[in-house]
């Protein structure tokens, strides 16, 4: 039988045969396709303006309170940065030059700047173009100021030796060890969502007024008011003025362009842009178009302010925009096509901003120009009713008809989601680009009630970043969290505290020579000690980070939109904000790899005695060379992802023991530092430090990602993958955070109406199982292989990797192979 193609593959096939995507000529999409065609194949360029202007200002304001310096720097940028109105665009505002671009945040890891400048253009993965003149600016104007001042350097100096050697190479702190990895130095904040609704409702004029009123009422004799509240509130007024000024400069630019424009249609468009930019985001939005422009300015200014991990998320767009849309459509001043057109103007705007990571670690975490600017649709209202509306369906339609992997679309699921919603989600997933990812209210809501949220707050959560959630006015934790390589704990158990990569260096605990272990319990106990030791150092690391970050970073813009920051007059990056819930995590990398390895050791070495520990270790040391029979034997042991209790019970224990630690010690940090299983693309670099593992995995190849099964190990189909995920969760604990689950299906699994129906019932079951997240990748293995061979033909092939979509051909060979290796669940 001919295997069917997913719609995405069909489009590629058509375009190879000269058949045009029918959406291109549809009214709502023409403009966005036109813009996209201009930019999509451009190599991103570095724009140094933000970094230069920020540095200029910071150089002048040394000694002032940080939050004030930040606001002043933003004002300096707002005044001086180039503003652009792109051809054909309806929305104004970008953070840098036209085309695909990345901007610099030297305050973050500027100590990498000189290396980065030399390497950026030559990077094999995610390269950037940098003009020689701009390189000079970086080397002469920007980098010298930050040397010795960056957060990264300060952190490296402050970690205790035992923690440091698990974090960085002790001889070169630029190099991560990928054992207990810190992620606070390559982003200014964890993933985040602003309260855009507030901006649309009261404008920055309204926010500024709140700050000014508070300033006017400060106690002139209070030291706290003088030293802390006053600078904060002043910073808020400055930042509000800054964003308004920046918007107005767009208004003027549009006006000038309109004067020069000869095309009468475009002239009118530019005049309207000019009018709108003079009004928002200063004032409340009065219609849908203004609301879109106001939101866009807000998120772009936020991108300029700081490097939010995975890019600032967009919140519940179908909710806060709906009142504007409804009023406009009822009044007949906007059509569905015009609404879609505006959304797609925003999506192509997003597509041009590339999240530039200077450090090799940051780059490895976020391969393929990764971005998770999550747009949330669906879910529930603050009183627990279904929230889907016409805008929800327009956003889903746009995702089906405009094949772009921006934005990262997330759909909330709940038990009473209407059939139309579930079917349209399934139809959108079937398009093959992997969107939307799904987040399950039935897990998220009770869990966060237990963590201290109110019903109203958690019903209104927005998806943030890769798989997390935020309550924009209740969440207060922004410190990047530790990624723990659990597979190294296993390796250190096998080699008595050592790793093959680092030879004789003692890195973990000396838990004994495993050859002398006579019982499974001996090995298991030793493993748990290694695991515990890594978690311990992750917490030490985090403790230091929490108490250091606010001295390096401020976010007056983000804080201005946050109820609690405004109430307490304190910057969002300060630890333990009164009334807030601090939702952090520590990441377990290599879950499936460790579980399968432990199951193989338990079964083959200790129970069935099919090989000795000595044989196992000898085999691993030679990376299975000449011992493929032992590799095969090890692989035949029970694996996670097959609904097999033998493996799943071990997995559940790893989950539990990890949560036990946080239950005991997170209180000291005042943070819910909870177990999370979401790897970005980091399971690839983390795998590069781990030698051969007893699950048959070859040395230095990728680890299992998130809570997904090891590559190819899930042979019982996707229902078993879901069940294993369920089996291994400890629902009596609240000390867990997101779990990411990838499932790849071949198109024949979802073909036709029957296929949609079955996908819907699969999703319904996921809701029942209270699993946090799922994303589907509907693709043929053959398509991936073909794309690897002929990248030019498949440039726009979108694939799902760990919580986001990327162009397959932007990925490294490693990651491509990794995707291909994941089991495609064909149903023959």
């Amino acid at each position: 039988m001919n295997c069917c193609l997913s719609p995405q593959e069909q489009l590629l096939d058509n375009s190879a045969n000269g058949i045009e995507n029918p959406s291109r000529s549809q009214e709502g999409h023409v403009r966005a396709f036109k813009i996209l065609d201009r930019v999509q194949n451009l190599t991103p360029k570095v724009d140094v303006q933000r970094g230069r202007l920020f540095t200029e200002s910071m150089r002048k304001t040394q000694g002032e309170p940080l939050v004030l310096r930040w606001a002043e720097a933003m004002m300096h940028i707002a005044k001086n940065i180039n503003v652009y109105i792109d051809d054909d665009q309806l929305l104004a505002g970008r953070a840098g030059i036209q085309g695909r671009y990345g901007i610099l945040y030297p305050e973050l890891d500027g100590d990498f700047l000189d290396i980065a400048v030399q390497q950026l253009g030559m990077r094999e993965v995610s390269p950037f173009i940098i003009d020689p003149e701009d390189a000079d600016v970086i080397i002469n104007d920007i980098a010298p100021f930050w040397k010795g001042k960056t957060f990264h350097e300060n952190l490296a100096q402050s970690l205790p030796a035992d923690t440091l050697k698990l974090t960085y190479d002790p001889n070169d702190e630029m190099l991560s060890r990928y054992i207990v990895n810190e992620t606070a130095s390559f982003r200014s904040s964890l993933q985040w969502v602003h309260d855009y609704e507030k901006v649309l409702k009261i404008g920055f004029k309204g926010i500024r007024k709140i700050a000014q009123d508070k300033l006017d009422r400060l106690d002139p004799f209070s030291p706290v008011d003088n030293c802390e509240k006053k600078p904060f509130l002043t910073a808020v007024t400055i930042i509000c003025d800054a964003v308004v000024l920046w918007a107005r400069r767009h208004s003027e630019a549009a006006k000038e362009m309109a004067a020069r424009e000869t095309d009468s249609e475009r002239k009118k468009e530019l005049e309207l842009i000019s009018e709108i930019c003079a009004v928002v985001p200063e004032n409340p939005a009065t219609n849908f178009r203004e609301a879109m422009q106001s939101q866009w300015f807000t998120q772009m200014f936020s991108r300029i302010e700081q490097k939010t991990g995975t890019i600032i998320s967009n919140g519940r767009m179908d909710q806060y925009l709906y009142p504007f849309y409804k009023a406009d459509i009822e009044a007949g001043i906007i059509t569905e096509d015009q609404t879609i057109e505006l959304f797609e103007c925003m999506w192509v705007g997003m597509a041009q901003f590339i999240d530039l990571y200077l450090s090799p670690t940051g780059g490895a975490f976020n391969e393929g120009y990764a971005h998770w600017e999550a747009v949330t649709v669906g879910g529930q209202t603050t009183d627990g009713r279904d929230a889907s509306n016409d805008l929800t369906y327009l956003i889903l339609r746009s995702k089906r008809e405009f094949p772009l992997h921006y934005p990262d679309l997330a759909a909330r699921l709940h038990a009473r989601a209407p059939m139309r919603y579930l079917y349209e989600i399934a139809e959108t997933i079937k398009e093959g680009s992997g969107f939307p990812k799904l987040i399950n209210d039935e897990e998220v809501i009770p869990l966060h009630l237990a963590k201290g949220a109110t019903f109203e707050e958690i019903y209104d959560y927005a998806v943030s970043g890769c798989a997390e959630i935020r309550m924009p006015n209740r969440d207060t934790y922004t410190s990047g969290c530790a990624y723990i390589n659990y597979a190294t704990a296993l390796e250190m158990t096998l080699y008595n505290g050592r790793m093959l990569l680092h030879e004789d260096e003692i890195i973990g605990l000396e838990t004994g020579n495993p050859i002398e272990f006579t019982e499974w319990e001996d090995f298991w106990t030793a493993y748990l000690r290694q695991q515990l030791n890594l978690i311990k150092h992750a917490f030490i690391q985090q403790h230091i980070i929490i108490n250091m970050r606010y001295k390096h970073f401020a976010t007056p813009f983000g804080s201005a939109m946050h109820d609690l920051c405004m109430k307490n007059c304190v910057d969002l990056h300060k630890p333990n904000i009164d009334g807030g819930i601090d939702l952090g995590y520590f990441e377990c990398i290599g879950y499936g790899t460790v579980v399968d390895s432990l199951a193989a050791i338990k079964k083959m070495v200790f129970e069935e005695k099919k090989l000795t520990m000595q044989e196992l270790i000898d085999t691993l040391k030679v990376n299975f060379k000449g011992k493929m029979d032992i590799q095969a034997l090890l692989k035949s042991a029970p694996c996670y992802g097959n609904n097999d209790q033998y493996a799943d019970s071990l997995a559940k224990l790893i989950d539990k023991t990890s949560q036990d630690f946080t239950r005991q010690y997170a209180k000291e940090l005042g943070v819910h530092l909870d177990l999370r299983l979401v790897p970005f693309t980091s399971h690839v670099p983390f795998g590069k430090v781990v030698s051969a593992t007893p699950n048959g995995r070859l040395a230095y190849t990728p680890l299992a990602d998130g809570s997904s099964a090891s590559h190819g190990a899930d042979t019982n189909g996707p229902t078993a993958v879901l069940m294993s995920n369920f089996n291994t969760k400890n629902y009596n604990y609240r000390e867990h955070a997101a779990r990411l689950l990838n499932i790849k299906l071949t198109p024949d699994c979802v073909e036709g109406e029957q296929g949609t129906k079955k996908l819907v019932s699969f999703i319904k079951t996921l809701i029942d199982l209270k699993l946090w997240h799922i994303q589907f990748n509907i693709i043929n293995k053959d398509t991936l292989l073909a794309a690897q061979k002929e990248p030019d033909k498949y440039r726009n092939l979108i694939v799902r990797i760990a919580g986001y979509s990327a162009y397959f051909c932007d990925l490294s060979i490693d990651l491509q192979n990794d995707l291909i290796a994941r089991t495609g669940h064909a149903n023959i």
């Binding site: 000449g626 034997l633 078993a720 029957q754 079955k758 019932s761 079951t765 023959i828």
Partner: protein
Amino acid sequence: MPSRQARKTVVVSAPTLMKQRKNPDMTSMSDIHREGIVFNIQKYSLHDGEGIRTIIFLKGCSMLCVWCSNPESQEVLPQLGYNPAKCLTVNECRRCRDICPENALTAGNDGIISVDMALCTNCLKCTDACPIHALNTYGYVITVEEILNQVQEDSLFYSRSGGGMTLSGGEPLFQGQFAICLLREARKQYIDTCIETCGNIAWSVLDEAADYLNYIYYDIKLMDSEMHRKITGFDNTLIKKNFSRLIKHHPDLPITVRTPIIPGFNDTEQEIDKIIDFIKGDSDVKYELLAYHRMGTPKYKYLGRDYSLGNLRELSQERFTELSAFAKSRMNQ
């Protein structure tokens, strides 16, 4: 050729069950402990009945269709299958070398093991030794209880999708009493049941199984009896007779008749027309065509057998769609 003798010896009989027919509660104890031979249990099956299902592939068949895509199902007893492409070669692994009592395993120049099927007595010792399952046993003994425990693992998916358990094969009713016990116990546990049968089976078995079925797929391959014998090993008298009895005695059991379209045998409007003439009566029987595919051909090699259809090409997608449309219009579906 599969052994005909094996087939006779393994049919499981259960006189007690026969007596207690239609009184399932009395028989549950023995039902769950009954053993049969299965060669695969496949979850997340989407194309064999309503919803998300688990298919139980029972070993043994009452026909020998030349195009069979599950040749490992034809014999009822567990048997050796060997896939040389998986063999690690003697350079990496020698685990099977000295195990064969008949010396049927030898290594070629490339280091890959080959099996002399003429010497093989099917003792299956080598399949235990092979770590990568290049030497593999098709079929294993399993109880009703063990099967249903696995089936129940996906019960949440059934409840959301309307799915359940489908028995396939081989001919699932070839191990007649085992299949009946399995179906009866499944129904007792409120699992939706479905079967894919060729109909070439004793009426008493089919009749009793039908009592515990929610749905049935009934294959009718060809109307011409002689041709039928030629390509399946049996004429179709019993199949036709059973079909009529089924309609008559189990009028409430929904039934879909399926015809695998085999190029050169029945891929014509005329053949389909004849089948439809036969099945289209007063009852609301459904009809669908299955496209011939070659997915099963490697397994013939693994069994040391030749695939008698050689390089028969799959029907073009267009032609299959055409025939399906024809069938649909004839059935007024």
